[in-house]
């Protein structure tokens, strides 16, 4: 296979098969089907077939269609920024802290500003963790403090100062109109204005977070969906050890 000309694989190599679904705000009909096919061709799909055209009510129509994508990607030229750390087990993390850092570390977690959804921060911080991966509260060498939902940036920083925190874990789950970006930017701006940014590691997590976005917003690291507590802790202790 030519990895410089990568294409989707459906049934045979290089067939470029893609499935697409979308809704158009028009009534169902032959014109609607045509509109969907024209749209597909503008998405660079060739020989598209509408396999479902379903009215959602009298003014919306839902389409599922298949087509051949003739675009290719040079896979060999791709370089993705990745967080630089070695994954460790919880017990290794605890030993690492005890041996290399020589003291317990304090981590404060919060859903900042508008976000009321603690499912992510709870999965990382709370004793129970997620999917049998215990949270940071269960790490003897970590003093984990979970402030929960809708914590104003100012309140978080006051707590961080009080506890002399090593790291802040920020969660943003629910977002619309990019409110998570505004919230995350505000926190960094306040940290910088108070000249606290360099004093602690600041990490962000959530379904819309990528390492690139986190860097761009001024965070030390960003973790997306599927992250377990030990992933965050591995990064954190190794990062602290570098300082």
């Amino acid at each position: 296979m030519d990895l410089t000309r990568l294409k989707p694989y459906g049934d045979t190599p290089g067939d470029g098969m893609v499935q697409v679904s979308f809704t158009l705000p028009i009534p169902v009909g032959d014109e609607a089907r045509h509109a969907a096919l024209i749209l597909a061709s503008r998405m660079m799909l060739k020989d598209s077939k509408v396999v479902l055209m379903q009215p959602l009510d009298d003014s919306f129509t839902y389409f599922i269609l298949y087509g051949h994508c003739d675009q290719t990607v040079d896979y060999t030229s791709i370089h993705v920024a990745k967080l630089d750390y070695q994954p460790m087990t919880p017990s290794d993390i605890n030993s690492f802290i005890a041996e290399k850092l020589g003291r317990k570390i304090t981590v404060i977690g919060a859903c900042v500003e508008s976000d009321a959804h603690t499912v992510g921060i709870d999965a990382i911080m709370n004793m129970k963790g997620y999917n049998m991966h215990k949270g940071l509260e269960s790490y003897p060498q970590i003093n984990a403090i979970n402030l929960g939902a809708q914590v104003p940036s100012e309140e978080l920083l006051a707590k961080a100062m009080e506890e002399n925190a090593d790291a802040l874990l920020i969660s943003q789950v629910v977002t619309q109109r990019n409110i998570h970006v505004k919230n995350l930017t505000r926190l960094i701006e306040i940290l910088e204005a108070e000249e606290l940014r360099e004093q602690m590691v600041v990490i962000v997590g959530g379904p819309h977070i990528t390492p690139e976005l986190a860097k761009e917003l001024g965070y030390d690291a960003g973790f997306g969906p599927g992250t377990y507590p030990e992933d965050v802790a591995s990064f954190l202790v190794q990062f602290l050890n570098k300082d």
Binding site: S21, Q54, D58, A116, V119, N126, K128, V174, R177, P207
Partner: protein, 519 residues
């Protein structure tokens, strides 16, 4: 018909323990009021208005009273006393207070009998509007008839109330019976009720009078066209619970989300504040015949759905007793539960069936609300549709009342139009195909399902007895619900909790509870 065997003795013991738990809390909170309750009283007295920068008058008035330590006698006492003694209307008195023209403490005391008479009169007047709306709703429900149970409940959450209307109408045309308008994420911690129509909300729209009106009118129209009554749901939670209850009552909502512990556990609102606000808000909702939906499903998003199933059952008993003590009737108490067991667990569907069937039998009159899988939805929308199909099957087999449709795109984004369609189509198919399935089967004696139901019930009783012993507030502070611990003197809104004076007055509370859910 498939039923699980539930030991009547254990069930009645569980109910007794729950009653004890609720009574102990109510006894403790009876000596206190909150700024939110007092704002609600002022609203029920008919005082309306906003300052030029959008602060509701009721906030200005009660904030002043709180600052001058007057709230212990109740906002009603000061306002009505002043109205009697200055021979002016309540609205005029309120205006003078707002603009600093009247010092309530300087007004001479009226004759107690005269005050009480006036209070009763004003209370009856204040509740008249709610009674009128209640009978209008009842008439429309009777005229249009309701959809077939399990009623299909979907959410709209565009952040723009007018787009919400477009999506709600599409959902109704596909078969939805209940539309829940999701609230702006930050509203639960707002200590005032905002106003206006919203087009740029985050996570949902603000719950305001104007937004409620836009959706109510749209759903009544859609219901007339579809030939069945369409229910409207919003939130009665957060720091303005009693005021939201009034708003819902007056704007003709059918269901409001109102849990006895949700705010404490998931929003870190102070316990006393929540219990007091909840108690009064339920008295209003019961009187208005607005059903409540409790939030037990949420526990299972943080705690494990298999290991902690009994905490849901225990909380349902507690929520039920709290509601009854507020004057609600079982037909208004929509207890919550959820289909959240890890799909990798062998026989997970049997455990879900056991739990769902048990809820149905424990609370036969409750319009119980069954919540879809959310915790183990992965982003694989196709697999998600299969998980939802099993959830739909459990609901159909066990004859749930209110069925919140799971979205294949759960955990990705707020539902797109086609997500809601796929979900409704899935549900219609399964409900139709399994219409009488539950009536045709029996659960094997001493089989997995029977044993599981008995186990969960027994564990729930143990938990209720423990909570009854130590008290609910201590139980919450030990993290017994949802694996989250909250402290008695912690949380938001504690500064709005006030010890009542001996001559505290709230003309509505007794009247509401006496009339209660029966109206």
């Amino acid at each position: 018909m498939a039923e699980v065997f539930l030991d009547d003795k254990i069930v009645s013991k569980a109910r007794e323990a729950a009653l004890q738990i609720a009574k102990d809390v109510v006894k403790e909170i009876n000596s206190k009021t909150t700024i939110a309750v007092e704002r609600a009283v002022v609203r029920l007295l008919g005082i309306e208005g906003e300052t030029s920068d959008g602060v509701p008058w009721v906030n200005v008035i009660t904030d002043k009273m709180l600052a001058h330590k007057l709230l212990d006698r109740g906002a009603a006492y000061w306002l009505v006393n002043a109205a009697i003694m200055t021979e002016r209307s309540l609205q005029e008195v309120a205006e003078d207070v707002i603009f600093g023209k009247l010092d309530l403490t300087k007004v001479p005391k009226s004759n107690r009998q005269q005050l009480n008479r006036m209070m009763d009169l004003l209370a009856e007047e204040g509740l008249e509007k709610i009674t009128t709306v209640r009978s209008q709703r009842a008439a429309l429900r009777a005229q249009l008839g309701k959809g077939e149970e399990p009623l299909k409940y979907v959410i709209v959450a565009t952040g723009n109330i007018y787009e919400d209307v477009v999506q709600a109408k599409a959902a109704v045309s596909q078969g939805a019976d209940i539309i829940a308008v999701i609230r702006h994420t930050a509203q639960s911690l707002l200590d005032y009720v905002p106003s206006g129509t919203e087009t740029e909300g985050v996570g949902g729209t603000l719950a305001t009078k104007e937004n409620f009106q836009v959706m109510r009118q749209a759903l009544d129209k859609a219901g007339r066209e579809a030939g069945r009554y369409i229910y409207l749901t919003n939130y009665c939670s957060g720091l303005c619970m009693p005021e939201m209850a009034i708003l819902g009552a007056i704007e003709g909502l059918d269901i409001m989300l109102n849990d006895s512990m949700y705010g404490v556990i998931f929003r870190d609102i102070n316990m006393s504040r929540t219990f007091i606000d909840q108690h009064f808000s339920r008295a209003i909702l019961g009187f208005a015949d607005v059903n409540i939906n409790t939030g037990e499903d949420n526990y299972l998003t943080t705690a494990d759905a298999y290991d902690k199933a009994h905490t849901v059952t225990a909380s349902q008993f507690i929520n039920e007793q709290f509601a009854i003590l507020s004057g609600m009737v079982p037909e208004q108490i929509g207890l919550g539960h959820a289909f959240e067991i890890c799909p990798d667990k062998a026989d997970s569907f049997l455990y879900e069936l056991a739990q769902a069937q048990m809820v149905r039998q424990l609370f036969p009159k409750s319009p119980v609300k069954y919540m879809p899988p959310t915790k183990y939805m992965t982003g694989n929308i196709f697999q998600g549709n299969v998980q939802n199909a099993l959830f739909n099957a459990a609901s159909a087999i066990t004859h749930q009342s209110v069925h919140l449709l799971g979205m294949p795109t759960e955990a990705i984004h707020t539902p797109h139009l086609q997500d809601r369609y796929l979900s409704i189509a899935n549900t219609n198919y399964v409900f139709h195909a399994l219409k009488h399935f539950g009536d045709e089967i029996e659960f094997a004696a001493d089989g997995i399902i029977q044993r599981r139901a008995a186990e969960v019930l027994a564990n729930a009783l143990d938990m209720l007895e423990e909570v009854a012993n130590i008290g609910l507030m201590t139980a919450i502070s030990k993290g017994m619900f949802a694996d989250i611990a909250r402290q008695v003197d912690g949380g938001k809104g504690l500064d709005g909790v006030v010890e009542k004076a001996d001559d505290y007055l709230n003309p509505f509370e007794n009247m509401l509870k006496e009339k209660g859910g029966k109206g």
